[in-house]
């Protein structure tokens, strides 16, 4: 049973570490947008495929659009 005297402080240290990590995440605004993040994971399906993130050949066209105005 005496092992409990070791385990309780060990558990406490772990949970305090978790608490500090949580504090960091709150301070760095990670909980500012609680709704958007839930959808973000559903959206990124296409860029998961490597090499499709940027569509190089089509770039110039959109640049042209910008220059026109």
């Amino acid at each position: 049973m005496d092992i409990i005297l070791m385990l309780i402080p060990a558990a406490l240290i772990f949970s305090i570490a978790a608490l500090l990590v949580f504090r960091w995440s709150v301070k760095s605004d990670q909980y500012d947008d609680m709704e958007g993040e839930a959808y973000r994971i559903l959206m990124d399906d296409e860029s998961m495929i490597p090499g499709r993130e940027k569509k190089e050949p089509k770039q110039p066209e959109s640049d042209q659009e910008k220059e026109k105005t």
Binding site: M1, I4, L5, I8, A11, L12, S15, I16, A18, L19, F22, R23, V26, K27, Y31, D32, D33, M34, E35, G36, Y39, R40, L42, M43, D44, D45, E46, S47, K54, K55, K58, Q59, E61, S62, E65, K66, T69
Partner: protein
């Protein structure tokens, strides 16, 4: 692929116009668009390879027309102006926060982020969906901020640099603090529970005194930290309430926490042999945690509603066309404009400051200030108000009032003040609290006295304390916030933005609803309601009218052009000329055609039939504007233009009337036309219920007085309105309901914003009814729990394990019941 039906615009999902829709070939499919804006946006999205935007956008979308890229974006490259909102980061990039207009769904977030991330010059782009904010970092040598704003503009969103004010910073800090305190309470709860399980185990299977003491001390230390850090806000709030001789929910919460904690501490520090030596640390920490979860959810619901309406700055332009000594035009930031400066206003510009017109002639849309949809003619000597929209001509103005002195800022300030001083009406739970505290204290005293005379002192104290502990109002404290949070969250999804939670409670008590006419019951835009030709060959005549009106910049001309959109414009126009304040004329095959006001017609000496003249008088008394088409001596055709009723309005008003709620119409129109509209909305012949009351000829500044008058007659009044001019009335009403995009001052003044349109009003009422019903049920659940357990506690028969189970179960029942609002409103 989710696509709107064939009859809807491929981009925005609005119904396609019968004539004049745009066809384009995108991704190998023929797509139809409602306007050029949508088609352009869609093409750009396709060209950047982001077509999957349409896969994610909801198929039932009904968005407003895409925002235009701002013309004056390069003003934001001005280093002086950038000092306020652009920051250089250590890695050499620049960072700015931009407020976004036109975000409808999570797919919009995806689209903006991906469009920007495709640009090499941008190192970071992230959009906050709830706050409609874009944080972007860029390399200043490769791209300018104005180019970023334009890139976002091309895909249909408006981005305005944004700077957090002090109040917003403070509220963000409060939110983060609350979140962390909640997490800390959770940490305490979890750890204390570990020890509690050991202690309960010991109760059943036996435990050495040494281990019991260790676990109790462990819980004691953690719970103390939890109360001191996470729970201190309850005590400070309860203390300030007691000092003001009031009782709020925090008072019983504080009593419950302190009594349980003191009792458990005494048991821990000096265990009395042979007596009850149970501790309640687990119940305390669970209680603190649950209440904080409720508070956090409540505050985040309120927060998201208010940040969605903080777009007031969008009303004023950020730049002005400054005329320097040489008479040259320069685009300057608004803040550098001084009193007495000469500015130029082009058609389509918003007027940046309050000013006097020096020269020029134009029509100005003052709807945001006056609520009147018809533009006002302005020429030299007239005053113009900052924030209003210049429509037809060019003006030179001299700035008279700037910044805080301007009409718009003063209205905003007034509304802010009124809104801040509007006290939350005491809600149902708050009214129960004093009774609750009183009864609990009585029962505890009775228990003490009873056991003191029939048993010994320690047993009497213990039983009385158990009564105080077990009545801990966890469920009572959660009953209202949970229901309102879930009601408000559901409202946001259904297009009903609840800005003040108590509005949901009050809406149920409303017995009189006042509607503003313009923009609320009507479309708020001028349409051609009907038109007649006096001659046979109408086709040729309309072709001429159309080309003439296309050449004109007058707002009425645009409405006529829209009405004739099915006709091919004539191509034989010569010598087009526009006469200020009268109309336009041009030659077609030697025939001169005039289009203009009736005043112009008579001043040219053209006489009208008596019948026609009578009809025109009738039209004008109904609030319509008549535009005449004539050649050198005869009237050829005429158009009647007016603001049309929203098609859904009569049905909605009827359904509300059937609930026994009195209705009123508030308008600046003349009595006759107001009555005519009332008759159209709710025909008096079809119902025996009390008719629509009409308050006509009400000046914008008298609207709030009318509401106050009705309140004086004992009505609980809800006001439905839109625009700056309704803002004071919305604040005066018990429940202010604003229409529209939640971007203007009326949304700031209102308690509820109907984002979808008038048909959201019945939804808001159902939501209110179901939320109230849930609150009442929740209160019964929590009181029922007390009725069940208090007799046991008084009899001295409560085991702490029972308390540890019964208390969370009652809270969970309350939370679960609140979640049922979803089902009740939709089903």
């Amino acid at each position: 692929m989710t696509e709107p039906a064939e009859s809807a615009c491929f981009h925005c999902g609005l119904n396609l116009p019968i004539t004049g829709m745009i066809k384009a070939n995108i991704q190998g499919h023929g797509r139809s668009f409602c306007c050029n804006g949508c088609a352009q946006v869609c093409e750009i999205i396709h060209n950047s390879g982001l077509d999957s935007f349409y896969k994610h956008a909801p198929s039932s979308r009904q968005w407003s027309t895409p925002e235009q890229a701002p013309e004056d974006a390069n003003i934001f490259d001005n280093p002086e102006l950038q000092a306020d909102f652009v920051r250089q980061r250590p890695d050499g990039t620049y960072q700015a926060d931009l407020l976004l207009e036109g975000i409808h769904c999570p797919a919009c977030v995806w689209l903006i982020e991906h469009t920007l991330r495709q640009l090499d010059a941008i190192s970071y782009a992230e959009v906050s969906y709830t706050r409609h904010r874009l944080r972007v970092r860029w390399f200043s040598e490769k791209i300018k901020l104005s180019e970023i704003i334009m890139a976002v503009g091309h895909i249909g969103y408006q981005a305005i640099p944004y700077e957090e004010d002090l109040e917003q910073k403070a509220s963000k800090e409060r939110r983060q603090d609350l979140l962390f305190r909640m997490a800390f309470a959770g940490f305490v709860f979890a750890n204390v529970m570990t020890a509690a399980v050991c202690l309960y185990g010991g109760d059943f299977f036996g435990i050495e005194q040494k281990w019991r003491a260790i676990f109790q001390w462990y819980s004691f230390v953690l719970t103390f930290a939890g109360i001191a850090y996470s729970g201190r806000s309850f005590f400070s709030s309860a203390w300030s309430a007691v000092r003001q001789r009031r009782l709020n929910m925090d008072v019983p919460i504080s009593i419950g926490i302190s009594v349980s904690f003191i009792w458990s501490s005494i048991v821990t520090v000096s265990p009395v042999q042979g007596y009850e030596d149970h501790v309640y640390f687990d119940s305390i920490s669970m209680f603190v945690f649950l209440i904080l979860v409720g508070r956090f959810l409540e505050s985040s619901a309120r927060d998201s509603a208010s940040s969605a309406t903080r777009h007031l700055l969008a009303l004023l332009p950020r730049s002005a066309r400054f005329l320097n000594n040489k008479g040259e035009e320069e685009l300057v930031p608004l803040r550098s404009v001084q009193q007495g400066d000469l500015l130029r206003i082009k058609p389509g510009d918003r007027i940046p400051v309050d000013a006097d017109v020096v020269s020029g002639h134009s029509e100005v849309d003052e709807a945001i200030i006056s609520g009147e949809s018809k533009p006002v003619t302005k020429s030299a000597g007239a005053q113009v108000i900052g924030g209003t929209l210049n429509m037809s001509g060019q003006l030179s103005i001299k700035a008279t009032h700037i910044g805080h002195d301007s009409v718009l800022s003063q209205i905003i300030e007034l509304v802010d003040q009124a809104q801040n001083s509007k006290v939350d009406v005491q809600n149902l739970a708050d009214r129960i609290v004093p009774w609750f505290v009183f009864i609990v204290l009585c029962l505890a005293s009775i228990t003490f006295l009873f056991w003191f005379s029939y048993a010994d002192l320690p047993f009497a104290i213990m039983s009385a304390v158990t009564v105080l502990i077990i009545t801990c109002p966890c469920a009572l404290g959660l009953a209202t916030p949970m229901a309102i949070t879930i009601g408000a969250g559901l409202g946001g999804k259904l297009g009903v933005l609840i800005k003040r939670g108590s509005a949901l409670e009050q809406l149920l008590n409303v017995d009189h609803i006042v509607f503003d006419k313009t923009g609320t019951l009507t479309q708020g835009k001028i349409h051609v309601s009907h038109y007649h030709a006096m001659i046979e060959d109408t086709e040729a005549l309309w072709a001429k009218v159309r080309v003439l009106e296309q050449a004109s910049e007058h707002p009425l001309a645009q409405a006529i052009d829209n009405a004739l959109s099915h006709i091919e414009p004539s191509t034989h126009m010569l010598n087009f000329n526009s006469v200020a304040g009268r109309g336009v004329h041009a030659e077609f095959d030697k025939q001169v055609i005039h289009i203009g006001s009736l005043g112009w017609l008579t001043s040219l000496g053209i006489t009208l039939d008596e019948g026609i003249e009578k009809q025109f008088k009738q039209e004008e008394s109904n609030g319509a504007t008549v535009v005449a088409v004539f050649d050198h001596n005869t009237l050829l055709a005429w158009f009647s233009l007016g603001d049309e009723l929203r098609p859904e309005a009569p049905a909605i008003l009827q359904s509300i009337q059937q609930k026994g709620i009195a209705l009123s119409l508030l308008t600046g129109d003349r009595q006759g036309s107001a009555l005519a509209i009332a008759e159209k909305l709710l025909p008096t012949s079809t119902t025996s219920l009390s008719p629509l009351r009409v308050f006509a000829e009400v000046m914008p500044n008298e609207k709030a007085d009318k509401i106050a008058q009705l309140q004086g007659q004992g009505f609980t009044v809800a006001m439905v309105g839109d625009g700056v001019n309704d803002a004071p009335a919305l604040t005066q009403a018990n429940v202010g309901i604003a229409m529209g995009q939640a971007t203007d001052i009326s949304a700031q003044a209102a308690d509820v914003v109907l984002l979808g349109g008038l048909d959201r009003l019945p939804i808001a009422m159902t939501l209110s009814k179901q939320t109230m019903r849930t609150i009442k049920q929740n209160l019964s659940i929590s009181l029922g729990y007390n009725i069940l357990v208090v007799p046991l506690a008084m009899a001295g028969m409560v085991h702490p394990l029972l308390a540890a189970i019964a208390m969370p179960v009652s809270s969970l029942l309350v939370i679960g019941n609140a979640l049922l609002i979803h089902k009740r409103v939709k089903g």
